[in-house]
């Protein structure tokens, strides 16, 4: 890894990284990639998030779905762990709570393949600092 030597370097790197993220999230093609985030804080892992993440990675590959699965921190929904956030191309992220293997399978088959929602999604009820 190269060192970041100045503020200009840092800003340049940020805009490159941001455009990579934008490319991945707001892909123009309808077949754009699906972005999946698994909440992997202590409470998530204790409720089985690791197994769900592995299941998602394996199954998405087996079923030929082009998706990025990444881990993230605690989303704050301890009552509904494990939590999985799915962002379909050009759509708003949806958070699924209480994801077991069966639900993870439903997420792939029903939501990712058909855009069909599942019972028990968690409505976002917070504001981010970007909007303020």
């Amino acid at each position: 890894m190269t060192k970041i030597k100045s503020l200009a370097d840092l800003k340049k790197m940020k805009s490159e990284l941001q455009s990579q993220v934008a490319l991945r999230e707001k892909s123009e093609t309808p077949e754009g990639r699906v972005l999946i985030r698994v909440g992997m804080g202590t409470s998530g892992i204790a409720s089985g998030a690791k197994q769900i993440m592995e299941f998602l990675i394996d199954e998405l590959e087996k079923r030929n779905i082009d998706a990025i699965v990444s881990q993230t921190g605690d989303m704050g929904y301890s009552y509904a762990e494990p939590t999985v956030e799915v962002t379909l191309p050009k759509q708003e992220p949806i958070v699924f709570g209480d994801v077991d293997q069966k639900k993870a399978d439903d997420i792939i088959e029903k939501y990712i393949k058909n855009g069909e929602l599942l019972d028990g999604i968690i409505p976002a009820n917070y504001e981010t600092i970007d909007k303020k």
Binding site: L7, K14, T72, G76, E116, N125, Y126, I129
Partner: protein, 597 residues
């Protein structure tokens, strides 16, 4: 297969469920089917929207139309108008009492502004083990701005003007703390991140370190530059292995990018961070005890002054801040003190992260602007009390805080208001209790904790708390008199006034606040030898209700001490002398024939 064009989200939370939400859900499904729309419109039940007051809620996407107080009979109109004709049903839209107009979609509703994520901004949004994701989310930009464009004085002024106060419990103004440390001259100064989160039920610091470790590193560099320190230490308890693991990764990545180390971003400023492990003692959250523990001494507090800002780690000026405090710093620098101070109340600026726990539906972490009421937190964001039971009290501030009751529900939450009603902000744990919780038992629980965690250095805390716990035990066994209650109060006040550090000075708070707010319950234990909530084992007994008992023998078969006798299809009897009050019979009885008296 057809893809749905529209989704109708029906709230499946307990609040909405209680107001016919389930019937509404079924009616909507039926209407969709009757209109042959099942391939276009999907009706699903969701988790709680947190807007229970106006339930049941129906949200239609993709247009985000938000219907409130929807009755089962409205299903027909919603499907006919909205799904078929594409027109919103105006009469069911939310009417904003402030703006005096109907709000067509959820994005414009004030309700969704209840939570604002500043400290938690990246938690659950970025991969904590990938520095690139943090950089893409404006990471280390605040650090760059401070190191290259601001003087240390300007950085301190920015933090001071923001009005940020320490989030670890005490609420001391962060900017002032930095200023004091900056004015003390020494060859070496230290910046310490206090990650010794010890309040039972609070886990915001752990979540920040697990979800966004770089934000803490960034803030520590800023802190170091502001006070003239080149070394940072993170004091974290060894029982947070995942947080430690991610911190280590973050530190390595930041070093590789040159964001920690020498000549950071070409500014000429050097700073590096080390991790120090704590063994999980509550008292080590107190800054002087924490510093001693890092020095390899016993984790015991010492008298202040001298403050750590004068003589801290290895006798050098040291600035100690909590994890959540640090998580606010980069945002204050990038967005400005003015922006930050526009959020919150007059003396408490910004937001606070709370860990909701206990008998509440949506257990979890929330971040809300200061000044929000307990009612909004518990009943709207928290989704109310589990099982539809009655709210009794909420304990804020952990073992140092107090219990707040129904009459405090509309008090705006900030540092000063909580102190004035006999509790404190603490690190932000909120344990919600319902009608089944006994307040004497709650006070006893917290005292048990403080007795265990007292370091033993000063006698008021070491001996006083032990005696407090014994007194509470006597009360819960029904052996106390009213005189004992007076003693309890006196002893509490003495411990508060004479203890060396914050632990002892606040440990009687749970006793005092429960006595203030639930005096009747104490009196019932003392005078009537009765526990109104049926919790204190020595004051309750289990009885068989003769008219309900069918003689199924379930209780007798499950009793671990075989104290229930009775023939099949005959009335059963509990032998009180042998009963250990384990509650097994009550749980197994299907006929409501066992009662706690």
């Amino acid at each position: 297969m057809a893809k749905y064009k529209m989704h109708m989200l029906v709230c499946g939370g307990t609040g909405c469920h209680a107001s016919e939400g389930q019937m509404l859900f079924e009616n909507l499904k039926k209407e969709v089917q009757d209109n042959n729309l099942e391939n276009d419109v999907q009706v699903i039940a969701t988790g709680c929207f947190g807007f229970c007051e106006k339930g049941p809620i129906v949200k239609v996407i993709p247009d985000n139309t938000f219907y409130v107080s929807v009755e089962p009979k409205d299903a027909k109109e919603i499907v006919a108008e909205h799904a078929l004709k594409g027109r919103a049903v105006k009469r069911l839209l939310y009417f904003d009492p402030v703006r005096k107009e109907q709000i067509p979609d959820s994005k414009h509703m004030g309700f969704y502004k209840k939570q604002l994520r500043i400290a938690l901004r990246n938690c659950g949004m970025i991969d904590p083990e990938n520095i690139n994701e943090y950089l893409a989310a404006d990471g280390y930009e605040a650090m760059g701005k401070v190191l290259l464009e601001m003087t240390p004085e300007e950085a301190i002024k920015e933090v001071m003007d923001s009005g940020l106060r320490g989030r670890g419990g005490g609420g001391f103004p962060t900017g002032l703390k930095w200023q004091i440390a900056s004015k003390n001259h020494a060859d070496q100064k230290y910046v310490v991140c206090n990650a010794d989160e010890g309040d039972p039920g609070a886990f915001m610091d752990r979540s920040i370190l697990e979800g966004d470790p770089h934000t803490v590193l960034e803030a520590m560099v800023i802190n170091g530059y502001a006070i003239g320190a080149t070394k940072g230490l993170i004091y974290i308890r060894a029982e947070y292995p995942l947080a430690i693991h991610r911190l280590k990764i973050a530190i390595d990545q930041a070093r590789e990018y040159g964001l920690l180390g020498t000549d950071i971003l070409g500014s000429g400023f050097d700073f590096d961070v080390e991790i120090r492990y704590g063994a999980g003692a509550f008292v080590c959250g107190e800054e002087t005890a924490l510093i001693h523990s890092m020095e390899g001494e016993r984790g015991e507090p010492t008298f202040k002054p001298p403050f750590p800002a004068q003589s801290g780690y290895l006798g050098k000026p040291t600035n100690v801040n909590n994890v959540e405090t640090y998580a606010n710093i980069p945002v204050i620098i990038t967005k400005g003190a003015k922006w930050f101070s526009s959020i919150g109340t007059e003396k408490s600026k910004g937001t606070k992260v709370f860990a909701l726990a206990g008998k509440i539906n949506n257990v979890g972490l929330i971040e809300v602007p200061m000044g929000i009421t307990l009612r909004e937190v518990i009943f709207e964001i928290g989704g109310g009390i589990q099982g539809g039971k009655k709210f009794k009290a909420v304990q804020t501030g952990g073992p140092s805080g107090g219990c707040l009751t129904e009459k405090h529900l509309d008090t705006p939450i900030d540092f000063d208001n909580l102190l004035s009603v006999g509790s404190m902000m603490g690190s932000g744990g909120m344990i919600v209790m319902d009608e089944d919780d006994c307040m004497v038992a709650v006070a006893k629980f917290y005292l048990e904790f403080t007795v265990e965690e007292s370091c033993g250095k000063c006698s008021p805390c070491r001996i006083g708390n032990k005696r407090l716990h014994e007194q509470l035990d006597i009360i819960s066994k029904g052996n106390a008199t009213e005189k004992d209650l007076d003693n309890l109060r006196n002893l509490s006040n003495v411990i508060k006034d004479t203890s060396l550090c914050g632990l002892g000075q606040t440990s009687p708070n749970p006793v005092l606040s429960t006595m203030d707010n639930f005096w009747d319950e104490y009196l019932a234990h003392v005078n009537e030898k009765r526990c109104p909530s049926g919790v204190c084992k020595d004051l309750i007994r289990y009885e068989v209700i003769a008219e309900n008992c069918v003689g199924c023998t379930a209780c007798a078969r499950n009793c671990p001490v075989n104290c229930i006798s009775g023939e099949r299809k005959q009335l059963h009897v509990i032998d009180q002398a042998l009963c250990i009050k384990c509650n097994a019979c009550l749980e197994k009885c299907k006929f409501n024939a066992i009662a706690v008296i």
